[in-house]
């Protein structure tokens, strides 16, 4: 069935093209490592409630007592609001634990995927294609 196979190939091509088109139609998160996550426990220095992205700045103390500053990118605040977030859920001084996909370039930054708030409540962020980020928060 050569004809059938050709049709299959054309269809597969179209599917790949349409998926590629969709993937490229949206803003890229390719700067972040999709294979591992950081588990960052620290103090919030700033929670920037803005579009196109929210930003969380936290100071994390390592085992030697040294403080390292991280910048974590969140999704659009409109997406956050639609999934139940409010700007006042996080404030400077809060002790939080963040799960983030780290920047591939080694800089102290990442994509915020999940956070445990000062209240102990755990919240996911509505990151598009969140399932493409492999979670292993124990690998700090």
């Amino acid at each position: 069935m050569i004809f059938g196979k050709r049709i299959q190939r054309v269809c597969l091509g179209l599917i790949i093209l349409s998926v590629a088109g969709t993937a490229l139609a949206h803003h890229s998160f390719a700067v972040y490592d999709h294979t591992r996550t950081l588990n960052l426990k620290g103090t919030v220095t700033k929670w920037q409630w803005s579009n196109p992205h929210a930003y969380l700045d936290i100071d994390v103390r390592d085992s030697n007592g040294e403080v390292k500053h991280y910048t974590l990118e969140g999704t659009s605040i409109n997406m956050l609001q639609r999934s139940g977030w409010r700007s006042n859920m996080i404030k400077a001084g809060d002790q939080v634990t963040a799960v983030a996909a780290p920047l591939l370039n080694g800089e102290p930054g990442g994509l915020l995927l999940e956070i445990t708030l000062a209240s102990g409540e755990k919240k996911e962020l509505p990151v598009p294609a969140a399932n493409t980020f492999k979670r292993n928060p124990e690998q700090d």
Partner: protein, 251 residues
């Protein structure tokens, strides 16, 4: 001259004919108005992009060979840059809106408002607004200053809003597909099956496309949803000297 005198000079039969003609005209106009207003669907409200079996898959743009090659090379370059973890900075990094027709493609909700002589579409992302002006001639393209949303005219044909848009800047592209300043965006907006609102978009641009490019976008109602404000503000992403997307990390 007194009007009574003037009237008395016009033979009665002419008055009768004029009266009948006026009455017939009035009946016809009001019937048409009733018919069109009865057929115009209520699409006012909030909508979000929806996939549905009634919406056909989007075909590849029928670009002329030289533009197709450039477009494919551009997509390949974007894919390779992403695979390297060094994405090419896009319009979001620069806080720029979609423009037309990208603003119709989501993923954020949009609001449609029907008012006398105009349909207004507000896209939540970047608070983008387009106005579709009813029952007027399209302007000559050279008379429309190029912009993100262009000049849109439309009319209701039964239950379908038929729209023509011109005047889109050449650097405002949809899915990286090139276009010329002569592009027309034709739309047929109508309620479809399964509660889905359809926007059948046809891009006409004979110097770039081999034939018109038609694709359909579908939307689902968001009952009680009110659009949120959206201002692009202090994005910490930026394009470096090579045009690669980076993020500012404070020290």
């Amino acid at each position: 001259m007194d009007s009574k005198w003037a009237c008395s000079r016009v033979p009665r039969i002419y008055w009768l004919i004029a009266l009948i003609a006026c009455a017939a005209g009035f009946v016809q106009v009001s019937a048409r108005a009733q018919q069109s207003s009865a057929a115009v669907p209520d699409i006012t409200g909030s909508w979000e992009r929806a996939r549905d079996a009634s919406i056909p898959a989007q075909p590849q743009p029928p670009l002329k060979p030289q533009y197709l090659k450039e477009w494919q090379a551009r997509l390949q370059a974007l894919r390779e840059a992403n695979a390297k973890g060094q994405p090419i900075a896009d319009r979001v990094v620069a806080c720029l809106p979609d423009g037309m027709p990208g603003m119709m493609s989501g993923p954020f909700p949009m609001e449609i408002l029907q008012s006398r002589g105009q349909v207004t579409i507000i896209q939540e992302a970047y608070t983008q607004v387009r106005r579709i002006l009813h029952d007027r001639q399209q302007n000559a393209i050279d008379d429309v200053e190029p912009g993100y949303y262009g000049h849109s005219v439309g009319h209701w044909d039964g239950g379908t809003l038929i729209v023509d848009t011109v005047g889109i800047k050449e650097n405002v592209t949809y899915q990286n597909v090139p276009h010329s300043k002569d592009m027309h965006i034709k739309e047929r907006i109508s309620p479809g099956p399964n509660g889905i609102l359809r926007d059948e978009i046809t891009i006409e641009d004979p110097s770039i496309l081999e034939k018109p490019w038609t694709f359909t976008l579908g939307y689902r109602r968001m009952p009680d949803y009110q659009l949120l404000e959206y201002v692009c503000e202090d994005n910490r992403e930026y394009a470096d000297e090579k045009g690669v997307q980076q993020i500012r990390i404070p020290r």
